[in-house]
């Protein structure tokens, strides 16, 4: 196997350009290993050569972010690398963020990339999901050891070898799940885990416990008689034929259905595509899901000011957190723009 072509990235300090006074220096490509890249070169041994070292000032990247990363990626691409190794950035924040951004950009171009940081470097939280970040010490005291671990993971990536668990290959968990074969059945693991828990030992859950932020309840509506109320549902109401192509599960889209001039929802005009519950009854009468009938009555009696003339609907079943949050934001923005005061959200 020919030695791999490796391009390194370092900041002005680790590239021996200078200290904070040189942090505004623009990107440059230096031949061979320079500064900290020499440790990478040494760790590579016969497996690869550092063909170039890219160096750039921390402030230059921080101030121009995307443009600077674009320049650096172009410089790297000029060397046709098999692998990009950025840093390690240790506890240096601006440097860590630059390393993460550069590795993410390189990975998008199909160039395997790895960086290294201390766990408290802000670059870890920003980039660990997209980039392999090896855990290092806080400073360069164990530079060669850290370089060896970056190189070990980098070689695996460049050779397209299977990557082991975060704890084994020494990188921060990327938050992605992948099926593997455990040594024992789930029943056996669950029983062993229960006995450990009963014995008061610490147990290691196979599913990380979620850490969802608490969402504060909004203030009550003071005067319903003058409030505009909207109806929103994740129960799967769609127009017949599902023109918005709302997915029966794992939705990425929502529908906006006008009820202007309608006393209620005509079962002949609506359907339901939700795959998470028995929809027989809401298909018979969509008001069981979206109470337009009752809301119109209350509007007529003056008990609410006005019923908003658009109903928003999607399917809330196996929907990803990311799409749920996005759709929620988009619907909320439309409601806010329409000066809606409150929402009745019906779920299933």
């Amino acid at each position: 196997m020919p030695p791999l072509r490796v391009v390194c990235y370092v900041n002005q300090f680790f590239g021996q350009i200078g200290g904070e006074d040189k942090a505004g220096t623009g990107p440059q490509s230096l031949e061979g290993p320079v500064g900290a890249a020499r440790a990478i070169h040494q760790a590579l041994g016969d497996a690869g050569l550092v063909v170039a070292t890219l160096a750039c000032g921390d402030n230059y990247v921080a101030e121009r972010s995307e443009a600077a990363i674009g320049e650096l990626v172009d410089l790297a691409a000029g060397h046709a690398p098999d692998l990009l190794i950025a840093g390690p950035a240790f506890l240096a924040g601006r440097y860590g963020v630059a390393c993460g951004a550069l590795c993410a950009a390189a990975a998008r171009l199909g160039v395997p990339a790895v960086t290294g940081m201390h766990r408290e470097n802000p670059g870890v939280e920003l980039y660990r999901r997209r980039v392999y970040i090896v855990e290092t010490g806080a400073d360069a005291a164990r530079m060669l050891d850290d370089a060896r671990r970056l190189v070990a993971l980098g070689l695996k990536l460049a050779r397209r070898e299977a990557i082991a668990a975060p704890g084994v290959d020494g990188y921060f968990p990327r938050g992605l799940t992948r099926n593997t074969l455990a040594p024992a059945t789930a029943a056996r693991r669950a029983t062993a885990m229960l006995l450990d828990k009963l014995a008061g030992h610490a147990v290691s859950s196979e599913v990380p416990l979620p850490d969802f932020p608490t969402i504060a309840a909004p203030a009550p509506v003071r005067d319903l008689g003058h409030a505009t109320i909207a109806l929103v549902t994740d129960g799967g109401l769609v127009l017949k034929g599902n023109p918005d192509e709302i997915e029966p599960l794992a939705a990425t889209r929502f529908g906006a259905y006008s009820i202007e001039g309608q006393r209620g929802l005509d079962p002949g005009r609506y359907d339901n595509v939700h795959r998470g519950y028995d929809t027989t009854f809401v298909k018979q009468d969509p008001h069981r899901l979206v109470p337009v009938d009752v809301a119109r009555d209350m509007e007529g009696q003056g008990r609410i000011g006005k019923l908003h003339e658009t109903v928003y609907s999607t399917t809330g079943v196996a929907t990803t957190l990311a799409h749920s949050e996005r759709m929620g934001r988009e619907i909320a923005a439309k409601l806010r723009a329409a000066r809606v005061d409150a929402v009745i959200l019906t779920s299933t």
Binding site: I163, A165, P166, P173, R174, G175, L176, T177, R178, N179, T180, L181, A182, P183, A184, T185, A186, A187, R188, R189, A190, T191, M193, L194, L195, K197, L198, V203, S205, E206, V207, P208, L209, P210, F212, L249, A250, G276, Y277, D278, V317, A318, T319, T320, L321, A322
Partner: protein, 416 residues
Amino acid sequence: MRLALEWSDVTSVASGPATRLSASALEIDLDGLRRQLERDPRLASVRLDLAHPGESCRIGRVFDVYAARARDDGAEDFPGVLGALCRVGSGRTRALGNVAVVVTDQQIDNPSTLAVIDMCGPAAELSVFARTHNLVVSARPAASAGRSEYLAAIRQAGLRAAVHLARAARAVEPDTIEVFDLPAPTRVPGDLAHLPRVAYVFQIHSHQRPTGVDEGILYGDPVRRMVPTLIHPNELLDGAVVRGFMGRAVTTWAIQNHPVIRELYALHGRALWFTGVVLTVAQATEPERVRSAAMAAGLVADVLGADGAIFTKIGGGAPHVDMAQTAALCEARGVKTTLIVEDMSTDGSEEGMLLFNFPGLDALVNVGSAQEKVALPAMARTIGTDDPAAATAFTYGSICGAIEQVGATRVMALVQ
């Protein structure tokens, strides 16, 4: 209560003039069995095939899998679904090792909700059903048979075939006898009273889709209004519960060989005291869910007096939350819990794995992601399907026996 499973190991299966077992070679009178199964007026025709371990063969449109079992002391087989009603779980039952009955669904238009079994290749590594000799029952519906009638008919056909095969073992001495003997939960000998008492909470159905009148699950009952119920584990090993009409990632086979029950039996009297099983169903409405969770937790904590409990679920998201709500109530009563969950993420992200957030539920085992894609090669022969599309896109959930929600499998989603 004492149940003896009398095992005869089978090393070869072939068609023959009569169904008989001799020196671990099983011969099956396929014609005779087919004629017997075709007597059901709900079925137009029945086709029987054999598939063997290592063959380049794919069984498509898999509906469910049954272990070959037959009661050996005059009691009824699968009471309420196949045999007349009676209680099972004590006495002697014949069992064939390395043999399974696989039932395919020949009625549904879109087979994408059904599973496949490959007898070799990468999927075979994941499924116990690639290591069993499989009798595959593929029945075409009679013109008059509705969906529910058809599914009830093919389920009975599969169970009938499973009993037919196991009865052949009556003529030989069993190779091994596996004894499941568990006293009533109060009868703990004094010198074992220090062992932690462990219960199992088994969710046997999800009412996300209500059961049909033909869909017997617990002793033939469609469990429509079932509240949490105590049951002896032997009953589950002996045919008291048959899986409903839907349920990817769970087979009746796994219930007949229930891995949690076997594990608790294996440690019973040594590392723990097995106090029994609570059956639950996942409910469709809020009051039913709250009632069920409260009653199940009460049975675990205050009737069985358990110190710890293991939970499994069946079906999708709502059952997942039902299970968690019950477990959270157990934790609140001081009962330690572990839960077996699927990775529910639809985008492969850590945040999507769980659908609940009860801080006390900190011991979770997972059976992997059913949605993760897996590439499978084409097979030389297919059974139960002539759909060539069955040779392309697969997920772990579409491989029968790769993921069993009751915990029989080793696939596990790892966060990386």
